[in-house]
């Protein structure tokens, strides 16, 4: 994850180009398998948007629930994206978001099911529990990395497995609702379910909480000493040490905070979307959040945009799947192409060099180089 601060405009152009290329390739693939690729892709690209029309009763909005799906999905993606952005910004390769989601969901679930309290307090407690559980689950590999130099890629991947096992253990042995037809808990009591704020959709107050999380993360990264430490440790660890920063503490905290955010994503999944705990509460969304952070270049301000974009694609893919013969997995293929192209840092400079070589003859290039040496 060696990201240098490239000029903003050039970077933006690069990302947009990559997205367009990936979408084009996705379209090509769609053409190969579908009878009506154009219609399919159209529903992919425009599906999540509500259709505005003028009716007798004035302005009419159709498809508002799809719009809601888009927002819901984006909320989860944004929270995970924030989690990954924080930890990648500090140059720590934690891949533990998936496990932290499960742990957060579990904590939220337990508080929701076993505590009685009025709405605001109940939800508040559940969210705090989720964030705290995620915090601890991120803090452990952080400490191992900081003090024993244990590779965080392996430790977080292992902790993911452990987290999912703990979750499933508790779910199947103690939390399970025997009357349900599938493995799940009872539905959360009303006081623990996030209230809906956009009528006609399932968009809950999680929207507001996510905005708060975005602002909070931005504030943390840009307006607190800890945020400064995170950024400087990510930019140059030795410099941070030399300047007096406690780099071990910073590394551990970066993973812990990331865990807290991912834990909140888990709370959203359980309390907002599903309103219960199921066997597979997350199907890899912890890893898909990495794309969001990558598109946003680890900048909290850009995560919402990247999250909304990616959520749009995912929702559009669902709509496309329902209305055509193309399956939604095509979006995963597009996602993979985006990741590979964006992270290929040397591609642009190499292309530039190749272009130069084509336009100038070898003699010209040698003369250029000699001149540069003689000027000295």
């Amino acid at each position: 994850m060696t990201e240098k601060r490239k000029p903003f405009l050039l970077d933006l152009l690069r990302i947009v180009t990559v997205i367009i290329v990936a979408l084009l390739l996705g379209f090509l693939i769609t053409v190969m398998v579908s009878e009506e690729p154009v219609a399919a892709f159209e529903s992919l690209l425009t599906g999540p948007f509500p259709k505005i029309s003028m009716g007798e009763a004035g302005l009419q909005l159709k498809g508002i629930n799809r719009f809601g799906n888009w927002l819901e999905d984006s909320i989860t993606l944004i929270l995970v994206g924030l989690a990954v952005a924080v930890v990648f910004r500090a140059q720590q390769f934690s891949l533990g978001a998936e496990g932290q989601i499960y742990i957060g969901a579990l904590a939220a679930g337990i508080v929701s099911l076993f505590i009685s309290a009025p709405l605001a307090i109940h939800i508040g407690l559940a969210l705090i529990a989720a964030a705290l559980a995620g915090f601890i689950w991120g803090w452990v590999p952080g400490v191992l990395k900081a003090y024993v130099n244990a590779d965080e890629i392996v430790s977080t991947l292992m902790l993911n497995v452990i987290a999912i096992q703990i979750y499933r253990l508790l779910l199947t042995q103690w939390l399970r609702n025997p009357d349900a037809g599938y493995i799940a808990t009872e539905f959360f009591p009303e006081t623990a379910v996030l209230p809906i704020i956009i009528p006609g959709t399932r968009v809950t107050i999680a929207l507001i909480l996510t905005v708060a999380a975005i602002i909070g993360t931005w504030f943390l990264m840009m307006r607190t000493p800890l945020g400064y430490e995170l950024r400087v440790v990510g930019d140059n660890l030795k410099f941070a040490e030399y300047g007096g920063v406690n780099t071990k503490r910073t590394i551990a905290l970066s993973m812990a905070i990331s865990g807290a955010l991912a834990g909140l994503a888990g709370a959203h999944l359980s309390m907002g979307l599903l309103k219960q705990l199921t066997l597979n509460i997350s199907l890899g969304i912890g890893f898909e959040g990495i794309v969001v952070a990558l598109l946003a270049r680890n900048d909290p301000k850009a995560v919402p945009l990247a999250g909304l974009f990616y959520g749009y694609l995912r929702t559009g893919a669902q709509i496309m799947e329902r209305s055509s013969d193309v399956t939604r997995e095509v979006v995963l293929i597009i996602q993979a192409i985006i990741i590979i192209l964006i992270t290929a840092e040397r591609m642009l400079p190499l292309l530039q060099e190749w272009w130069k070589k084509r336009r100038h003859s070898p003699d010209e290039l040698i003369a250029e180089a000699q001149e540069a040496a003689d000027v000295v």
Binding site: A150, V154, L157, V161, I162, V330, A336, E345, R346
Partner: protein, 337 residues
Amino acid sequence: MSFETVISSIFTLAFIATVIRISTPLILPALGGLFSELAGVINIALEGLMLAAAFFGVVIGTFSPQWFPGLPFWVHPWLGALAGILVAMLLAWIIAFFHLELGADIILTALAINILAQGGTVFIMFALTGDKGSTSTLASPAIPNVVIPFVNNVPGLGTLLNAENLTGYNIMTYAAIIFTVLVWIMLYRTPIGAHLRAVGENPAAAASVGINVKRVQYMALLLSGFFSALGGINLSMGYLTIFQANMTAGRGFIALAAVFLGNKNPIGTVIAAIIFGAATALGAQMGTLNVPNQYIEMIPPFVTIAALVIYNLRRRAQIAASARKFQEKMQTEQEVV
């Protein structure tokens, strides 16, 4: 269920046979992960490579009779296997190319391949069969098992050597055993193995003696693709002849963990992979005795993390010890002077 019943059910040859069977698709990708880790290009896409190979093995194996009707019956599964291997190696090559030539981050690129495999397999499966869950509608072939003759007459030996139902272990199991030996020989007895390990430990030293570091790393990644493919094919064309979405279920990541638990050498890696396999088998056994399998399944990841910590602490202690030794030597030297 009493403790004795539990213990007695474990120490049976049937259990050992189960462990051997379950460990096969862990050992094979672990060997692949070992190559890439030793060469300094960690590959976290073992999962996706296995999945892709499992899928294409099934698909090509199923359609090959239609495309090449003249070929003898037994060739088609092997064509499928070959296709699976080629696809996995192609995907591994993509990781190598983007990382070594275009400077892409190897973790992210491998992650992308995992996602590509996850989505691509379901996508193509749906296009071919209309089913997003599995290829149950296809009559996909199997890579054969190997039955050892005569031993079934000896009580117990039959189960040990021919698996639980005396149907014989899949050929991939034998492949795993043979390749383990070959890999060890290759790494520690051949020049290319020495070059590979040198590249991973000190690329500058390797380059300084004329070793082409990039070429070695390409090769390591391609090998990791090859071995992952074998594991994937074992899943979809072995005891089960079907491809299910996400059927690898994290085995690729467990295989990578086995490399670290095994301290990055072939014997340790294989033993670690068997430990992971045994845990799964034990978990299933416990399940039948109403003990939740999750307890058992948690043990190998815990052990891996503990191993990471222990290995690092040990290294530190070793360095400190050799420094002290050297210091003492210097002090005695000075006294002599």
